[in-house]
Symmetry: C2
Subunit: 435 residues, 2 copies
């Protein structure tokens, strides 16, 4: 395929002189797929995946700028590459700001499906290309890049190298230990995180790789995780996907269409410093699943653990997938006449009515990291949630202490980041934090 022949006239400036095949895809995607949602300024993209096409087929673009960062209420794309970064010792405020500035410029281009910097083939061939090239020719794939800041940036070091200690929000406390934690430091924490979601995994990997490269000398990759299949919907337009227990997941999730619930449970409000208002908190948990054991469990037991039917996903108290669970219902035909939904079923313990109304927006992904030395798949759920206050996650996770599902899961990674509000044109990521 000839690059020059398929290129379209640039629709804006400045652009590098060398045209890019990706310009074509970007222009098409922006035209047909990008729509703004609601007065709150959050933006979502429709995609082929939402309109009956195959999974992973979305080729549109999701606007980078907005009141909120994209990748939170954006209809969950099918693939994930999540990365955590550590600021290099000796860096200070200037390095952190310059990194956020450079990431902003790159993220705006990447989410439009464009090369970064000098592109794949700079005019001066004696320089390394700025763009690593493996996404050349691919569409934007509905890529979103969502950035978060770890607590250690504010208060985790001697002194105050980044000069933001006094900007630490009161709610931004470290996550406590939970009953079933088996956390591995090599898969936990980090000063900065990037959640890259796209309908094409090569687009998500390309974004993380290039943002990692840009960070060189200022921050290095601490750990990263690929996820191959979304386990939550974040829009009513999406089918409910299945996790690796084979159950529909995220049926009761907060959806992009629930503007008032988003304001109440997801977006940080006036309780926080100005830089975080309109932002959120991101919790990530790497949850290993012992799927081989699960697979040997009877259907009845699996359904009892979850509290829903496996095929349809309806609550065991009756009704179809989206029926409200009735936790007072008694099992029909049961000799023991116990509750239809077990007192320790996952959906009961996780339900807002059991947790003082706490709700979170889930956005997790199935993963398989090869296999372990026991001949088992290294499989699980890379859980991601967004919430207005980390305390909501803590409440829910503590409530799950007695969850029947705990026999089949281990939390091996964990992280918490503050996600600044969206970037306006001309701003850089988190700019208000340094004002």
């Amino acid at each position: 395929m000839n690059e020059a022949a398929s290129a379209q006239p640039a629709s804006e400036s400045p652009e590098p002189p060398r045209p890019s095949r990706r310009d074509l895809f970007g222009a098409i995607g922006a035209g047909v797929a990008g729509i703004a949602l609601g007065a709150a300024g959050g933006t979502v993209a429709t995609s082929a995946a939402l309109s009956g096409g195959g999974r992973g087929s979305g080729t549109g673009t999701v606007p980078f700028h907005g009141a909120h960062q994209a990748g939170i209420v954006t209809p969950a794309q099918d693939r994930l590459h999540f990365a955590s970064f550590t600021m290099i010792d000796g860096t200070g405020r200037d390095e952190l700001i310059s990194l956020l500035q450079d990431w902003t410029v790159a993220a705006e281009r990447l989410t439009r499906g464009r090369d970064i910097g000098t592109g794949v083939a700079p005019d001066n061939a004696l320089l390394p290309p700025d763009d690593t090239g493996e996404a050349e020719g691919l569409s934007a794939g509905n890529l979103t890049l969502t950035f978060g800041m770890g607590r250690e940036l504010f208060a985790g070091r001697d002194g105050d190298p980044y000069g933001i200690r006094d900007r630490l929000p009161a709610a931004f406390a470290p996550l406590p230990s939970f009953a079933h934690d088996l956390l591995e430091p090599a898969q936990s924490g980090g000063d900065l995180c990037i959640q890259a979601c796209a309908d094409d995994p090569q687009v998500a990997v390309h974004a993380i790789r290039n943002l990692t490269r840009i960070a060189m000398g200022r921050a290095h990759l601490a750990w990263s995780q690929l996820g191959f299949g979304r386990t939550s919907s974040t829009s009513r337009a999406q089918d409910t996907p299945r996790n690796l227990f084979g159950f529909k997941d995220g049926t009761a999730n907060i959806m992009a269409e629930e503007q008032s619930a988003l304001g109440e449970h997801v977006w940080v409000g006036a309780e926080a410093p100005a830089w975080l208002r309109g932002g959120s908190y991101l919790v990530a948990r790497k949850i290993m699943m012992t799927i081989e054991n699960w697979d040997r469990t009877s259907l009845q037991e699996q359904e009892r653990i979850v509290g829903r039917t496996k095929l349809e996903g309806g609550p065991l108290s009756g009704g179809a997938e989206f029926a409200e669970p009735d936790f007072a219902a008694i099992a029909e035909g049961s000799a023991a006449a116990g509750p239809a939904i077990d007192v320790d079923a996952h959906i009961r313990l996780a339900h807002p009515t059991q947790n003082g109304g706490a709700r979170i927006l889930r956005r997790g992904y199935n993963y398989v990291d090869g296999s372990n030395n026991l001949g088992q798949l290294g499989a699980g759920l890379f859980f991601i949630s967004f919430q207005r206050d980390p305390a909501a996650f803590v409440t829910l996770q503590r409530s799950l202490k007695g969850d029947l599902m705990n026999e089949y899961v281990r939390h091996v990674g964990s992280g918490l980041w503050a996600v600044p509000r969206g970037v306006r044109a001309g701003e850089y990521l988190g700019q208000a934090l340094f004002a």
Copy 2:
């Protein structure tokens, strides 16, 4: 989504009484996507991915039965899950045959996008479901399952537990050590392998998981590898994809349309025992790429190493992507007047004209396994090739001893398997081996 409401009448029998959502997808896929190719009996499927849709959007079905196994000349799907298995100590011929029989039944159903056995929700809820369920509601995604047999099954154990020692083909020699091997046993070898390719990674993972489960008590998973992006085309209808060096890969691959080249270089012929005729040999190599170092290399140096331009993929001797390289051409405007394609460039050393005409059919995938403890992405190429004789791969790999690219790659995993011919209706995989 209500399962029963969307089910279609079964188009064939016997089927389990419970209808499946996947029946619908399967029927559509078979109708519009499955076509037979050529007199050789090999089958390929067209897919949405080939007709201008996004990557990873193929929802069709690829026939399981045929003269050759699917997944070799099938237009390379976008995603991979590859698994290697070890037969459990003490198993014998009966266990191996029963495993191959059970895998055959399951593979035929999985590739049609159907549940296996009792499905996701058996009528007897006191039993574990036969199907783990995470692919429920998904299309067949052009899934192919390609099975191979390792040399250790024939001649690697005391005695002859599987009674097939005398069926070992003369060409089936172990791969030798190569100059840059750093092989890890935990990612190498195996008695049996399954290459699962699909346009939806969740479909490929589901297949490997369920086939692993079926093997329980007879074989266990030795290692497995996910690949997120194909790096080769195997049909002229496909765009050439890019590897993680950012270059187009597989431009000179053997294509499904080259019937005579397939017969000469891919399908095993009369030189082999009857059970392998119409089959092939599968070589897998896990090739780690030091992409951080690569990315710091100038465009000129990258192109010199590969022997092609980065953007278009044309040979440095001139012309567009599919132009034949001219290894005698002298670099224009070069003060040193050296060859346009370096004497140690990858495409020169790998070219058939430099290797006595040896050709292989490549079918590799990009992978990223998180990151390593140096703050680098664990990235690379999971190389897969099919060839009529392993000696062709050995010839090419030995020729690459001086390849300039070796500075940026490490071979960390390796395997070689004999791939029996395709399964005819009523047969099981590799049946002729036991006749």
